[in-house]
Amino acid sequence: MSYHFGRGWSKLTPYLLLLPGLFFYFLISLGPSIATGFFSFTDATGIKGAPIRWIGLDNYREFLFMGRASLDNLDALKRTLIFSFVVTTVQFTLGLIVALIVNQKLKFTNIFRTIYFMPVILGVVIQGLMWSLFLYPLGGPVAKFLALFGMRSEFLGGQPTEAFAWVIFVQIWANLGITMMIFIAGLQTIPSELYEAARIDGANTWQVFKNVTWPLLTPSVNTNLLLNAIGSLQAWQLFLVLVGYRNGTQVLGYLIYATGFGQTSGSVTTSFRQGYAAAASIVLFLLVLVIGLTLQTFLQRREKRILG
């Protein structure tokens, strides 16, 4: 195989081209990650100039084993897993269905694609504000609709399980467009001849999907599953905007934010505890790592089996 970048010093060209990307990767991603690992063994407050002491595994001990708070943390961990599982499966399934529909040669397809994708371009705050208004319990549209059936709800401010379910719903609504677009991109790479051949062989719609579309969508399936799973494990912003810090609704990501930045309720003073928050972040990182790697290994094997 010939080398395209010449001889002598010119051979370095591809590596030099990689440098800016690597620089930003170290600066923005890897560097802070390593620092977080270090801070998780300290009592760092995050306050500029404050002394930092090495406290070993104390933060981990407190997070995982100290009093009732550690059980609450484990509840948040469970809630994170539930959130991730529901968001990933529903968003994946709906994204695929919507992509299959808007990939048809129908009128107004582009308009529908735009409508489904539109929430993605809104910021989390806008998404949260929109749904806070939709779910306003004193005469909001959803409250009025429920009132037609003699029902009412406090929605985001009521029962924690209900508030949690609404955040799942908004998360899916907000990100469905990305899943759909990845599937559309995958669908458009499938040669139409394969569909024609399958039809000539007498395959019905389900058989076409099962034997042509689904196997050839494997790269898009893998990308979507990984993005949805990892993204939902790390999600926390919608919890902040929609429900705030409420018992029975926190996921691990929000717990980390609230602890690390001393988020207060009104004027009640709390402490800045970034060392402790860093330990919680590492727990979340390990969770994402284990789930992400397992999923990736499984998906890669599947891809190899199907596509060779």
């Binding site: 970048f5 010449g6 001889r7 002598g8 010093w9 010119s10 370095l12 060209t13 030099l16 081209l17 440098l19 800016p20 407050t45 995050g46 306050i47 500029k48 100039g49 404050a50 407190e62 100290m66 009093g67 009732r68 708070a69 550690s70 059980l71 609450d72 806070s132 779910l135 306003y136 319990p137 004193l138 005469g139 909001g140 409250a143 009412r152 406090e154 929605f155 985001l156 401010g157 009521g158 029962q159 924690p160 705030g244 810090y245 409420r246 018992n247 029975g248 930045f261 001393g262 988020q263 207060t264 309720s265 009104g266 004027s267 009640v268 003073t269 709390t270 402490s271 800045f272 505890r273």
Partner: protein
């Protein structure tokens, strides 16, 4: 090809230079261990400077600050004030990040509270103490403008280890209830001075199809802040309550506390209007002023917003009648609210001190308390406002509230607080005994963990 490589490297060097130029300029850092030469507020700086000010969201206060900033800039043309406003819940977070970025000169800081007491074990210092110990707040000791403020304020709400780091601008009450005078008159309801009278009043209004109470529950804490008066009527000495809880002399599930939980359930379930959890904190005064509800449990800081929403609306403000004995219901519980502090490493020290000096001038301060309805911390200032007249009868009975003393032990569960919002429809609990046991269990877990 070597020319291309050279071109590539040159581009990268230029790129790196641009990046470096975009960085934060080096700023002199103050060494908190060394005594600082005191700068006293005086004349405006010779060069043009921009003073970065951070305040928390409180509509009348923000409105006043905008007018004050204009007045300040007119008087000192070399100073431009760049004021940022953040939600009260985010004030400490934003302060921390802006300190890290050297991007703040003057900051709004709540009265110093929640300090570690000798009977507390393994508690972290509160964030104001962390900021001082990191050398981030300027020592204001000896500044001329401090003379305008009363000594208890200076000592209790802004000092640490004998030095002054913040000047507090006012006390507020959060244990009161606003009531709609027209509705009370129309339905011939007596202004309640006891718990049974409050229950009866709510029943009358609800019977007439009028929601009894509203609150800005979307922000979380406003849904239960009024009920702090209920705690106060049962435990008037709030500092002793905190010590009792830490030492085990008081339990959240003892007989006395159970009375509190039973009343809290009535408050959350029967008194608060349906849907209150969706009302934003700064929208609640408007809802009350619209005349749609009979009462509004909340802090004295809401009064200017009520007046602004409906200037002709006639309202009163009473202590939360949590006890069956009217004598127990004559206390106000509250806190030191907003204060000013200066970043120790500000490059605009003169301008920052001048800002505080100008703000503290008695005429300006009087305009401030008139606008925001604070109980003044300058002894010469007067309670000119309507809310001032309402709170004056019991002002001698002002006490700092429970939440200002409370520090949760590490390991305590998430329910270790006396909050009415744990009850349905805002929370999951339907039985006061079950909730009381849960709250005590969560607290006890923390106390056991730090033994």
């Amino acid at each position: 090809m070597s020319k291309k490589v050279f071109l590539l490297i040159s581009l990268m060097v230029i790129f790196a230079t641009i990046l470096a130029a975009c960085g934060t300029p080096a700023t002199p850092t103050a060494d908190s261990s060394q005594p600082q030469s005191p700068t006293v507020a005086g004349e405006q700086p010779a060069k043009k400077v921009t003073l970065r000010v951070l305040v928390h969201q409180n509509p009348p206060m923000v409105e006043f600050m905008e007018a004050f900033n204009k007045q300040f800039q007119d008087r000192y043309p070399n100073i431009t004030v760049d004021m940022s406003v953040v939600n009260a819940n985010d004030l400490s977070t934003v302060s921390q990040t802006r300190f890290s970025a050297n991007d703040i000169d003057v900051l709004d800081i709540f009265g110093f509270a929640n300090g570690a007491q000798p009977y507390m074990k393994q508690v972290d210092p509160p964030n104001w103490q962390q900021l001082i110990e990191a050398g981030l707040l300027m020592d204001l000791t000896g500044q001329d403008f401090l003379q305008y403020y009363d000594t208890p304020t200076i000592n209790d709400a802004g000092s640490y280890n004998g030095k002054v780091y913040a000047v507090n601008l006012g006390r507020v009450i959060y244990s009161g209830i606003y009531y709609n005078k027209a509705l009370f008159e129309q339905y011939n309801v007596k202004v309640p001075t006891t718990w049974p009278e409050l229950v009866a009043a709510c029943e009358t209004f609800k019977g007439a199809g009028i929601p009894c109470m509203t609150a800005g529950g979307k922000d979380g804490w406003p849904i239960f802040v009024g009920a702090y008066g209920l705690i106060g009527s049962i435990y008037p000495d709030q500092e002793a309550l905190v010590e009792g809880l830490w030492t085990g002399k008081i339990k959240w599930n003892d007989e006395k506390s159970l009375e509190m939980w039973r009343k809290m359930q009535v408050y959350a379930r029967d008194m608060m209007e349906e849907g209150a959890s969706g009302i934003a904190g700064d929208a609640a005064p408007g809802r009350f002023a619209s005349g749609a509800v009979a009462m509004f449990p909340g802090g004295s800081w809401y009064a200017p917003a009520i007046e602004a929403a409906q200037p002709d609306f006639d309202w009163g403000y009473i202590p939360f009648p949590g006890s069956d004995n009217p004598e127990d219901n004559k206390y106000w519980f509250g806190k030191y609210d907003q204060g000013w502090a200066i970043a120790n490493n500000t490059l605009n020290k003169e301008a920052a001190l001048l800002y505080l000096k100008e703000f503290s001038e008695p005429a300006n301060y009087q305009a401030f308390v008139d606008a925001v309805g604070f109980i003044p911390t300058q002894p010469t200032a007067k309670l000119n406002t309507k809310i001032g007249a309402e709170i004056a009868p019991y002002l001698a009975n002002f006490r700092v509230g429970y939440e200002q003393y409370w520090v949760a032990p590490k390991g305590a569960g998430q329910y270790a607080n006396p909050w009415a919002s744990y009850f349905k429809p805002f929370g999951t609990f339907d039985d006061p005994v079950e909730l009381a046991n849960k709250v005590q269990e969560d607290l006890q877990a923390g106390l056991d963990a730090v033994k």
